[in-house]
């Protein structure tokens, strides 16, 4: 298990290609994004593109919606994922199949998830079919109306459906690492199920929870295809605005300003998590 080969050049030669690759396709574009966002064509620094982004009518709604999505989706996902993880490790018969089903949406793209939930929420879709079939509705209700709260709820449900699996897998792995003896000992001392959940399971799951929180939050700030597939442009988010500015108006600079903003918010949230949860970078390991 413990590597003990003497240090030589071999490992560095093996690492070099990956470092070079990440420098060219990861670090450099990151620097470039800020360059595009803050430098005019003649090379001087400017806040022009940033001001144009902020001045755009869609900016504040997009920022607001993105933040609303992050603060609603992530707590919902964690509650659901915890329930799923506890169910999957409860020693039920068919637990293998259960884990496979629960993990399935990991493989589902955000675009596919958007389309799947579109078939449910669209006016002539499944939800209206069922509600009307049960006699709860007189005629089909338009859930995905432009800018309506229901569109936002549809996006939240679709995202929770799609992206809870990754949290689930991380939590199950964490649960499997908790020694059974802890629970048995607690039970001997008379701790009930909830007491054990609160005093043993959750504290020992903390590293897994931190990992999942950071991963999911960064992905949530980039939410894009689910929103577009479900609502067209009825709901605006930061990533869809970045896409619009480039694909509709061919304005690379304002698109880059959005990219820089998403980057900044993501890094800020990671720093906050690391501070608040007092973990080291290693906790990012998945």
């Amino acid at each position: 298990m413990k590597p003990r080969r003497r240090a030589n050049l071999e490992p560095y030669l093996l690492l070099l290609p990956s470092l070079a690759y990440l420098a060219v396709f990861f670090a450099w574009p990151m620097v470039q994004a800020f360059g595009l966002a803050f430098r005019a064509d003649d090379g001087r620094w400017t806040a022009e593109f940033f001001q144009r982004m902020i001045g755009d009518a869609a900016f504040w709604p997009a920022l607001r919606t993105t933040l609303i999505l992050v603060v609603t989706i992530i707590p919902l996902q964690f509650i659901l994922a915890l329930i799923m993880a506890l169910l999957a490790t409860a020693g039920l018969r068919g637990a293998g199949a259960l884990i496979y089903f629960y993990a399935l949406p990991i493989a589902v793209s955000d675009l596919a998830a958007g389309i799947v939930w579109f078939s449910i929420f669209t006016e002539r879709g499944y939800l209206n079919t069922i509600l009307q079939g049960l006699g709860l509705l007189e005629r089909p209700f338009i859930f995905l109306q432009y800018g309506a709260t229901w569109s936002l709820i549809a996006v939240i449900l679709a995202e929770v459906w799609r992206a809870t699996s990754i949290v689930f897998v991380i939590l199950v792995a964490g649960l499997q690492g908790i020694p059974k003896e802890y629970h048995e000992a607690a039970e001997v001392f008379g701790a009930g199920w909830f007491a054990r959940l609160r005093r043993i399971t959750l504290p020992l799951l903390r590293p897994s929870i931190q990992v999942a929180l950071i991963l999911r939050t960064i992905l949530a700030f980039q939410v894009f295809a689910v929103v577009v597939a479900l609502t067209g442009d009825g709901v605006k988010v930061l990533a869809s605005e970045a896409y619009q500015w480039y694909s509709q108006w061919r304005n690379l600079n304002v698109a880059a300003a959005y990219a820089a903003l998403i980057l900044a918010i993501s890094l800020l949230s990671t720093v906050i998590y690391l501070r608040a949860l007092r973990t080291r970078t290693e906790a990012l390991t998945v």
């Binding site: 409860a90 596919a112 579109f118 209206n128 039970e187 950071i214």
Partner: protein, 277 residues
């Protein structure tokens, strides 16, 4: 699987409730997939119709063939496969050696490298496609499958490195050393002993990379104009498309992902769950 002790109350009743909850959650996950499949295999008239059938009353390939024969779809599927294959080949070619180095050597800087790779997760990689547009134009990579694959590789590479490292940690080093005492060179021992043993894990890692690339929308849509991947093509024309096209398209991207998941299932936890040290 750690079997948890059953809740203390009335054991049997709570057991039934736990099963019930487990099934309900499974239904929440599976029902939407089932419903889109029903739509994809219904004739177009049913797909347009209302109320929607909950059971597949008339099975037909009309909707799916309408989608596949739509202009540009087959080409975009070809592009998607091409991009995904490029991505998995490049990321394995670059990532596996690095993973092997992390697993087999102790060397100054190894930990820093590891932290560097881990910290890439704190960055929204997809956004990098926007600055890459200008770079690609000057390199002649704009609107090309290779260009998209290069960005997908940047997204997949950190995971590939960490996963291959954990795979090689799992392949006993003693076997390699035994091969070397019997006259294999270092490279020969790797090729004849470590590589075959690591192959299933590497395949799972490759499947993960393929899936990531097959599913990715934003970067693919930004970096291509004509040579779109399937998700890029779909997102561009989705909201102007007829309903059967959308449903069949959604189903079409869903299926390979689910099939892949079946193969990658055993490695689920080493890909996403396990802590690698």
């Amino acid at each position: 699987m750690t079997a948890r002790p059953a809740p203390p109350l009335s054991r049997r009743l709570s057991r039934v409730l736990v099963y019930l909850a487990a099934i309900l959650v499974a239904l929440y996950i599976l029902a939407p997939i089932y419903l889109i499949a029903v739509m994809a295999f219904s004739p177009r008239a049913v797909v347009y119709g209302y109320p929607k059938p909950l059971l597949p009353t008339q099975i037909s390939l009309e909707t799916i063939s309408f989608f596949i024969n739509s202009y540009g779809i087959l080409d975009s599927v070809k592009n998607s496969v091409l991009v995904a294959v490029f991505t998995l080949v490049i990321s394995l070619a670059i990532g596996a050696p690095a993973g092997y180095a992390l697993a087999r050597y102790i060397f100054p800087g190894g930990d820093i490298y590891r932290i560097l790779i881990l910290s890439t997760r704190a960055f929204p990689v997809v956004i990098l496609s926007i600055p890459l547009i200008t770079t690609y134009i000057s390199w002649g990579l704009d609107d090309s499958a290779l260009g998209v694959a290069l960005l997908h590789t940047a997204m997949a590479l950190p995971t590939t490195i960490l996963v291959t490292s954990s795979i090689f940690v799992g392949v006993s080093k003693d076997l390699e050393e035994a091969a070397m005492t019997m006259g294999c060179t270092r490279a020969g021992a790797f090729r004849r002993v470590a590589l075959p043993l690591a192959l299933p894990g590497l395949a799972a890692s490759a499947i993960f990379t393929f899936m990531l690339s097959w599913n990715e929308v934003f970067a693919a849509a930004i970096l291509t104009l004509q040579n779109q991947t399937l998700p890029a093509r779909l997102i561009v024309q989705l909201n102007q498309s007829p309903i059967p096209f959308r449903f069949a398209g959604g189903f079409f991207i869903l299926v390979p992902a689910i099939v892949f998941m079946l193969f990658a299932r055993r490695y689920l936890f080493s890909l996403w769950g396990v802590k690698l040290r």
